[in-house]
Amino acid sequence: MSGKMTVVEGSYAIAHSVKVCRPNVISAYPITPQTHIVEDLSQFMADGEIPNCEYINVESEFSALSALVGASATGARTYSSTSSQGLELMHEVLFNASGMRLPIVMTVVNRAVSAPISIWNDHQDSISQRDTGWIQLYAENIQEMSDMTAQSFKIAEDKDVMLPAMVCMDGFILSHVFEPVILLEQELTDEFLPTYDPEYVLDTRNPLSFGTFADPSAYTEFRYLQQKGMDVALGKIEKAAEDFKTIFGRYFGGLIEPYMAEDAEILLMAMGSVVGTIKDVIDKARSQGIKVGLIKVRTFRPFPAEVIRSAVSDAAIVVTLDKNISVGLNEGALFTEVKSCLYNSDINVPVMGFMLGHGGRDIPMSTIQMIIDKAAQAIKSGIKVESEYADLRGELL
């Protein structure tokens, strides 16, 4: 990696990335653990470090995203950040922004959702919004998150994508930790990220109406076009990562990042910071001769079905790790969707799912090791339980 490293808090690195991406309107409402990002951005604003930018201190997350709908439709590059309850409050507007094809970028600092109330990390917040038509990217560490932020503007604002993007980072684990990071350089970012130049804007010189109502004869085709934008985004996500590597010299993967996966018999799949822990466990396991590998899923929406199918086809078993759950189905989303994308294919690899880390429960290496052991067992004697908690505390029940 080239570039000067500084030790900064994860949130600061993200705020810095947003700054050099030259946003025009930032609108956000504070919620733990996103607060440091918006506080840092407020300081940048107060010191005049973000030209051509307005910062709206809104009275709720609903208003935060609504203001960005208006701003984005006017032609501004827009940014917000939130977590958990705030993201849930935005739920209605998420659909609205995607349906209106507004490439708003938002950092979701992943946090568990109430009830019970929890400020600690899991993925329930962003996962519960996976049907809203937003691109969803998940970062493993602060450097990746910082880089991904710039990439997400480029992907979202691409003329053939034009969909809003959620960039997800684990709350506290990444947001409140200090790490050595290479902050994005302004000149390189200007080279990487073109100015936002949308085709349809609110402009008195060329009046248009946005957000008209569509009766049954026209509605479906809008959904179809949103999906088409997602399909195009698959390629754009990979291209953005490649372009970023060319200019900045760093690469964290495209749609997925395989880690020791080529000859893996046991293939773990996960998103977010837990990937770091998994890589350490894999290194240890490999040294003991266990053929285990990882597919880090960077992109959850659009769901990269094709590359996942290619990546898992030679494994003996796939094991997904989910920091979320669909209550009533008793499965995490990654599990459900990976299992589903294999079902009709001729790839006959069994899939096991573990839910863990909910409400910020720590995931030590021993938990990952236990999962690997269970997977090895399942290869021998078949899957007994396809989806379960890896860290349920029986003594509390």
């Binding site: 025009n24 709206i56 208003s63 208006g70 701003a71 060329n206 109406s209 109502f213």
Partner: protein
């Protein structure tokens, strides 16, 4: 062409269309309009048509003011503001009820927008349900009269007072029955910097149940009975009031509308009418209408 284009799906005699037309004529073409979900939005923009000749956006039901704030911020950030006015125009439900959070935020921040509430005193688009702006004893589909009820049991929410409490430099009440007065006030509101507010009383023939030709006539009765006072408040001081020399008895206003008919037929109705007269009398006193 500063009016709604014809061909929109508004009812014959639609008060919303009239209100929108007066606002558009007062402001001109250099305006961006934000609407919430409601009659005005639905009737003017069935895809792929739009009756709006100015840039227009509809997002959701409750976020009109927030969207307007965002547009205004974007215009400034992009250096495109010029003299462009950002107008948020919403119905009473979208304003005094579900949209009040966003409005409170925009007015607290003093964002440079003008908010026009088109008040036809119920959720008309969804079938005349009661809103916070529905007047005392009015019949709506969710506050119908019956053996246990005379209709809506609460007085009208005083939205201008709420806006005033946010320190808005200009708050005015208007009525579509007094178009020149309304246009004058709208023009004033958009030219004042900061968050300004216009509350427009808008009689709805469909929801209030009267003949479509009587829209303006009914609105005048509301003013002439002192039930809807017309005033301007600038920087916290009342600067103009439309005097009502001899306020008509509220019966004249109430009996002309189907939504108050039950007060004339039910037992105890007379007593309820006198309560409404009390409201009118209070207005005369409080706003100095005589």
């Amino acid at each position: 062409m500063s009016r709604l284009a014809p061909g929109h799906r508004g009812c014959a005699g639609c008060c919303d269309a009239m209100a929108a037309n007066f606002v558009l004529e007062a402001v001109g073409d250099d305006a961006i309009v934000v609407n919430p979900t409601g009659c005005l939005e639905v009737m003017t923009t069935p895809y792929p048509e739009s009756a709006w000749e100015v840039p227009w956006i509809h997002s959701l039901f409750e976020n009109t003011a927030s969207v307007a704030s965002g547009i205004e911020a974007a215009l400034r950030a992009l250096g495109r503001k010029g003299d462009t006015k950002v107008i948020a125009m919403g119905g009473d439900g979208a304003t005094v009820d579900i949209g009040i959070l966003g409005i409170s935020g925009a007015f607290e921040r003093g964002d440079d927008i003008t908010y026009v509430c088109i008040d036809n005193e119920a959720y008309m688009n969804t079938g005349v349900q009661r809103s916070g702006a529905t007047p005392f004893n009015a019949s709506t589909s969710t506050s119908p009269p019956g053996s246990q009820s005379f209709g809506n049991s609460r007085p009208k929410k005083n939205m201008p007072a709420i806006i005033l409490a946010h320190g808005s430099p200009y708050v005015a009440t208007t009525s579509i029955s007094y178009p020149k007065d309304m246009m004058r006030k709208v023009k004033k509101a958009v030219d004042i910097e900061g968050a300004t507010y216009i509350h427009a009383h808008a009689p709805c023939a469909t929801g209030w149940r009267f003949d479509t030709s009587k829209t303006v006539e009914i609105g005048k009765l509301a003013v002439e009975t002192a039930l809807w006072p017309l005033y301007e408040i600038e920087d916290g001081e009342i600067t103009s009031v439309r005097k009502v020399k001899k306020p008509k008895p509220v019966e004249e206003y109430l009996k002309a509308q189907g939504r108050f008919k039950h007060l004339f037929t039910m037992e105890g109705g007379k007593e309820e009418i006198s309560k409404i007269q009390d409201i009118a009398n209070w207005n005369v006193e409080h706003y100095g209408l005589l």
